[in-house]
Symmetry: C2
Subunit: 200 residues, 2 copies
């Protein structure tokens, strides 16, 4: 439990939460790595999702943010809902928060510098799709299909065809189904290991 909330002495309301990746991530992700192709980027997201299952640190989902032009890795995220006892901490949310901390801005849009892409091992839920709209990423690449997440008991929330169209109408391009078989194998691995379906 790394969720060190500060409790006010005055009225016992919490005023802070620290969001932290699992300790294994630091050694798992190659130093100063560059990922030119979407397939390389997706393999990292899937590897993170699998390792999160194997290490028992959360749900079977991984994500990463890259500079679009250079392929430089900016941040990674793994599902941390159960570990940090926080339903907001899907892999995409972790990756976006850490990417914005890294660039020091509430938008990854870049304003003339680097444009950013988020790669996720599974199609985003309603919360994450909304978060992606506000984040400033210009492109989203998804692995596993939402149906594969639904098949093992995870919900995806109110995501409709119109939701994707809404983002695309605002200049965000979306790729779905990249290396879907590899990504969906991790979902089945989680099920085989009786992983918690936390929003069932």
């Amino acid at each position: 439990m790394q969720n060190d909330a500060t409790i006010w002495s005055k009225n016992s309301l919490p005023d802070a939460v620290t969001v932290r990746l699992p300790a294994w991530v630091k050694d798992f992700v190659p130093a100063s790595a560059v990922y030119p192709a979407d397939e390389d980027r997706m393999r990292l997201a899937i590897a993170l999702s699998r390792e999160n299952v194997v290490r028992k640190t959360g749900g079977p989902f991984g994500a990463a943010v890259f500079e679009e032009d250079t392929g430089r890795l900016v941040s990674v995220g793994v599902n941390s809902v159960e570990r940090l006892r926080n339903s907001v901490l899907h892999a995409e949310i972790m990756a976006l928060m850490l990417a914005q901390a890294s660039v020091g801005s509430f938008t990854l849009h870049g304003r003339g510098t680097h444009s950013h892409v988020l790669i996720t091992s599974c199609e985003p839920c309603a919360m994450c799709l909304g978060a992606l709209l506000w984040s400033g990423v210009r492109r989203i690449v998804c692995g596993a299909r939402r149906e594969a997440a639904l098949a093992i008991g995870f919900e995806e929330g109110p995501v409709f065809a119109e939701s994707y169209q809404y983002l695309e109408a605002r200049g965000i391009s979306i790729v779905r189904g990249l290396l879907a078989d590899e990504a969906e194998a991790v979902l089945r691995l989680y099920q085989e290991r009786d992983g918690l379906i936390y929003n069932a």
Copy 2:
């Protein structure tokens, strides 16, 4: 800037972010307060939204989580996107993360203990509506209408009538427009003071 991201020495990827309320909140919220009626709860959310504008610590949005039966205040949130340079940190997200830290669980559902309600000074965006679905709150009460947020330039994302129906079908009840005039006055105050529209 209270966003103290830890940077890995190895490859300069960030691994942690601390989410913290503005310092004024601690003195602004009454100690050990109980709010029996929805109107009292909404007045607190609106007061937080107004104070966030007056203190220049973020967008014109406030939220709070209460125990439904006792009226005990569990957590509060104010929009912190600009202050903490993090597009995820809407008022509702702050309140949910802090409430879960307080109860020590990724769900506020209660499992036989207290049921929880989230009160928000403005109808939630797509991200927050999704987050509310996963949070375990059983009821949502909203102040300002989404049209009032749109009128000053904020976007709400892909939220449709079907989105609300989706939550209601899963047992979450939703009240809209409570003290809407008071809540919407804060949106206009933000506009008059040339507050940043961060997702324009």
